[in-house]
C-alpha cells in the first residue's frame, strides 16, 4: 500500500514540479513585483505597496483599454458562438460533402494569429478600398481599420472567421451525442425545425455552451497576437479628453507599458487583468452550470 502511494507521488511529481516552476512561482513573483518599483534590470527594488494599482485606474489609456477589451469580448462571444452554432447545425444536417465543409470551416483556426493579422490587414487596408474604388462605393474606400468606431468590429469579424470553426467542432460533438430518438419523437409530435433546435437541441447541449462560452470569453479577454498585427492598437481616438488608442486591448496595453521599461506598472495591470478574468469567467461558468440538464 505504501509502495503504491509512493509510485503515485512519483508519477505526479514531474507535473507538479513543472506547474510550480512555470505557473505558481512566476505568479506569486509577479504579484510581488507589482508592488515594487522594479524596472526589469535594477538590483535594488523598493516596496511601494498598492501605488501602481491606484495609478493605473487614473490613466485614461488604461481605462479605455479595459473598456475596449470588455466590448470586444461581448461582441466576440456573441458572434463566435452564434456563428459556430449555425455552422454546426449546417454540417450536422443532411448535406453532401459535409466532411469537406467541416474541414473547410475549421481550417482558419490552424492559421496562427500573427499571420492571420497580416493577411486581414492587407485585405482591409488594400483589397477592400481598391474594391470600393473600382465599384465607386464611398463606404468601402476608407479602411475599416482606420476608423475608430468600426475597428473593434473589424477585429471581432476576423476573430470570428478564425475561431468559429473551432467552436463548431465542440458543438458538433455535442449534437452527435444527443440521441436521435429524441429529435425524431419531437418531429413526430409535430415540432418544427426551429422549435426542435431551441427546445430540445439547445437545452440538451448546455454543457457544450458552458465550455465554448468559457473558451471564447477567456481568449477574447486575453487577445494579443491578432490585435498586435492587425491594428497595432490604432487608430487614435479621444477618451476622457485625452488621445488614446482605439483598438488597444488590455494585453497590448500591458505589453506597451512593459516595453517602456515600466515593468512593475505593467505587472500591476496584468494582475488587474487576471482578477477581472477570474471574476467574469467564474460568474459565467456558475450561471451556465445551472442551465445544464442531467442526462
Amino acid at each position: 500500500m505504501r509502495r503504491q502511494s509512493l509510485v503515485k507521488v512519483l508519477f505526479v511529481l514531474p507535473c507538479v514540479f513543472a506547474f510550480t516552476m512555470v505557473i505558481l512561482v512566476p505568479f506569486f513573483y509577479g504579484l510581488f513585483f507589482s508592488m515594487t518599483n522594479w524596472n526589469g534590470v535594477s538590483e535594488t527594488t523598493k516596496f511601494v505597496g498598492f501605488l501602481h494599482f491606484g495609478k493605473v485606474f487614473t490613466q485614461p489609456a488604461f481605462i479605455h483599454a479595459f473598456l475596449a477589451s470588455a466590448a470586444y469580448t461581448a461582441i466576440n462571444v456573441t458572434l463566435v458562438n452564434a456563428a459556430g452554432f449555425a455552422l454546426a447545425l449546417v454540417v450536422t444536417g443532411n448535406l453532401r460533402f459535409r466532411n469537406f465543409y467541416r474541414a473547410g470551416f475549421f481550417a482558419p483556426y490552424l492559421i496562427g494569429g500573427i499571420v492571420l493579422g497580416y493577411i486581414w490587414q492587407f485585405l482591409f487596408n488594400s483589397a477592400i478600398p481598391a474594391l470600393g474604388k473600382a465599384l465607386s462605393i464611398e463606404a468601402l474606400q476608407v479602411s475599416f481599420l482606420s476608423r475608430a468606431d468600426s475597428v473593434i468590429w473589424a477585429m471581432s469579424f476576423v476573430n470570428t472567421w478564425q475561431y468559429a470553426g473551432y467552436i463548431m467542432l465542440i458543438f458538433i460533438a455535442a449534437i452527435q451525442a444527443i440521441p436521435a430518438s429524441l429529435m425524431e419523437a419531437a418531429k413526430v409530435d409535430g415540432a418544427g425545425y426551429f422549435r426542435r433546435v431551441f427546445h430540445i437541441l439547445m437545452p440538451m447541449m448546455a454543457n457544450a455552451f458552458t465550455i465554448s462560452l468559457f473558451l471564447t470569453l477567456t481568449t477574447s479577454f486575453k487577445q494579443f497576437d491578432m490585435n498586435f498585427t492587425l491594428t497595432n492598437g490604432g487608430p487614435a481616438t479621444r477618451f476622457l479628453d485625452q488621445p488614446v488608442m482605439a483598438s488597444q486591448l488590455l494585453a497590448m496595453d500591458i505589453f506597451n507599458t512593459a516595453k517602456a521599461n515600466r515593468m512593475a506598472e505593467a505587472q500591476a495591470k496584468a494582475v488587474v487583468l487576471f482578477v477581472a478574468l477570474v471574476a467574469v469567467s467564474l460568474a459565467q461558468v456558475s450561471i451556465n452550470k445551472k442551465k445544464e440538464v442531467e442526462q
Binding site: S42, G234, P243, K259
Partner: protein
C-alpha cells in the same frame, strides 16, 4: 548503452583536452546588436577581426527589425548571459542598464567624434553611425514642377511649393505631394512622434542646444515656437497621401516615393538600401524641415544608437579593443562605410558612402549648421504611448490645429511625472 557511455566519455575527455590545450588568454567577445541591415557585414568583419587577432573570437547576435531588443537584453541579464558589447538607444535605456555600462572616457576614439554617448561628463557609448534626415525630394519632379529645392528654407516657401506641385499633380503623375506615414496602426508613429517632433526640439538651434527639450522635460512648451511648428505639421498632413498617412506601413511609404507617385519623402538616410532595391534612378536630395517663420537650412543629424561595454565581463578589455579597432583602422572604416553602408561618426574616416541620401547628409555634415536630434532624452514610451496617438488623431483631421496644440501642451505637462 555501454557503447553510448564509452563514446560520451571519450568525447568529454577530448573536450577537456581541447580546453586545456587552448592558448593562455582566449577571449570570446559576445556582441548583441539591433541593426538587421548590417548583420552580414558585421558578421564578416567580426570573423576577419578574429582571424587577425589569434585567440579572440567575436560572436555577434542580431535581433531587430521591430523586435523588442531591450526586452531581450533584460532577459539575457536575468539569465546571467549579459553580452560584452550591446546597444542602447538613448538616456532612458542608459538609466535602465547603467549598472552594466562601462566608462569609455579613456578610449582613443573619443576625441575623434562629436556624437559619443555622454552622461555626467563621462563617455559611455560608441556611436554606431550617423543617421539623419530632412525632407527628401525627387529632384526630377521638382524640376518639372518648376520648384527650386534650394528655396525651401521657410514654411512659407514650402506652402507655395506644395500648392504649385499639387496643382500639377495629374501632369506629373502624382498621387499626392508628400509621402509621410503617421499612423499607430501602420506602426509608423515614430515618423511623426519622434522624428518630426525632433524638429521642434532642436530645429533652428545650435547643434548641442537642448534648451527646448530641457524645458519640456520640466513640463513646459514654448508656445510661440510650437505654434509655428504645428502649422508645419498641418501643412505636411494636408498635402500627404491620405492612405499612407492614416494606415500605411514603412514599405507603403517608401515605395510610393520610389515609384515617383509622391514628390517628397519624410524619412532618413536609412531608406537608401530600400531605394536601391526598388531600382530608383532619379536624383534625390534633402531639403530642411523648415518650420519656423525665419530661414532654416540645416538637416537633422544624430547617432541613433551606441555600443556599450559590460564592465562586469572578464572580456571587457578585449571588447574595448574591438571597438577601438573599428573606429581606428582601415579595415574598420572599410566595414562601416563600404560593407555596412553607414556614415561613421568619426572625423578621421575619409571614405564616401554610396547612397544618395547618405551622401547628402555627409555633405551637410561637412558644411555644418545642422541641428541636433534629442528625442532620446525623453522618458521611455513617450513617443509611442503619448505623442503617437496625438499625431494620429491630428492626421485624421488636420483642421483641428488648436486641439493638437492643446493635446501636446497637456502631454508635455505630463512628461515630468512619467
Amino acid at each position: 548503452m555501454r557503447r553510448c557511455i564509452a563514446t560520451f566519455l571519450i568525447l568529454s575527455l577530448g573536450l577537456a583536452a581541447a580546453v586545456m590545450a587552448a592558448p593562455a588568454k582566449p577571449a570570446t567577445i559576445t556582441m548583441f546588436q539591433l541593426k538587421v541591415e548590417i548583420k552580414d557585414a558585421l558578421d564578416a568583419y567580426a570573423a576577419k577581426y578574429g582571424a587577425a587577432n589569434p585567440g579572440v573570437t567575436v560572436k555577434v547576435e542580431t535581433l531587430g527589425g521591430g523586435a523588442d531588443f531591450a526586452g531581450a537584453l533584460k532577459a539575457k541579464i536575468q539569465a546571467g548571459q549579459m553580452p560584452d558589447i550591446f546597444v542602447i538607444e538613448g538616456a532612458g535605456q542608459y538609466n535602465v542598464f547603467k549598472d552594466y555600462i562601462a566608462d569609455l572616457s579613456d578610449q582613443p576614439w573619443v576625441k575623434d567624434t562629436d556624437l559619443a554617448f555622454k552622461a555626467n561628463g563621462k563617455v559611455y557609448g560608441f556611436p554606431v553611425a550617423i543617421e539623419g534626415y530632412g525632407l527628401a525630394y525627387n529632384a526630377d519632379i521638382l524640376k518639372k514642377a518648376g520648384v527650386d529645392p534650394a528655396s525651401l528654407t521657410t514654411r512659407a516657401a514650402y506652402e507655395t511649393a506644395f500648392a504649385a506641385i499639387d496643382a500639377k499633380k495629374k501632369d506629373l503623375g502624382l498621387d499626392a505631394v508628400v509621402s509621410m506615414a503617421a499612423s499607430v496602426s501602420g506602426g509608423m508613429w515614430w515618423v511623426a512622434g519622434q522624428h518630426n517632433l525632433a524638429a521642434y526640439w532642436g530645429g533652428g538651434l545650435k547643434f548641442d542646444d537642448t534648451s527646448v527639450i530641457q524645458k519640456a522635460l520640466k513640463g513646459q512648451l514654448d508656445d510661440a515656437r510650437f505654434a509655428q511648428y504645428a502649422k508645419y505639421v498641418q501643412l505636411l498632413f494636408k498635402y500627404a497621401d491620405k492612405n499612407i498617412l492614416l494606415n500605411g506601413s514603412y514599405d507603403n511609404q517608401v515605395s510610393s516615393f520610389a515609384q515617383g507617385k509622391t514628390a517628397f519623402l519624410h524619412q532618413g538616410n536609412w531608406v537608401d538600401p530600400n531605394l536601391k532595391q526598388l531600382g530608383v534612378a532619379f536624383k534625390i536630395g534633402y531639403a530642411p524641415h523648415a518650420f519656423l517663420d525665419v530661414e532654416q537650412k540645416g538637416l537633422y543629424l544624430f547617432a541613433p544608437s551606441w555600443y556599450c561595454v559590460n564592465p562586469k565581463s572578464p572580456n571587457a578589455a578585449a571588447a574595448k579593443a574591438f571597438l577601438a579597432a573599428m573606429a581606428g583602422t582601415a579595415e574598420g572604416h572599410d566595414y562601416m562605410v563600404n560593407q555596412a553602408g553607414m556614415i561613421p561618426a568619426f572625423k578621421s574616416v575619409k571614405l564616401q558612402p554610396k547612397g544618395q541620401l547618405s551622401q547628402a547628409l555627409m555633405a551637410a555634415n561637412a558644411k555644418g549648421g545642422n541641428y541636433g536630434v534629442f528625442f532620446g532624452m525623453l522618458p521611455d514610451g513617450a513617443g509611442q504611448n503619448v505623442f503617437g496617438p496625438i499625431y494620429d488623431l491630428f492626421a485624421q483631421n488636420p483642421a483641428k490645429i488648436d486641439q493638437f496644440i492643446s493635446d501636446m501642451k497637456k502631454a508635455v505637462a505630463g512628461l515630468p511625472s512619467m
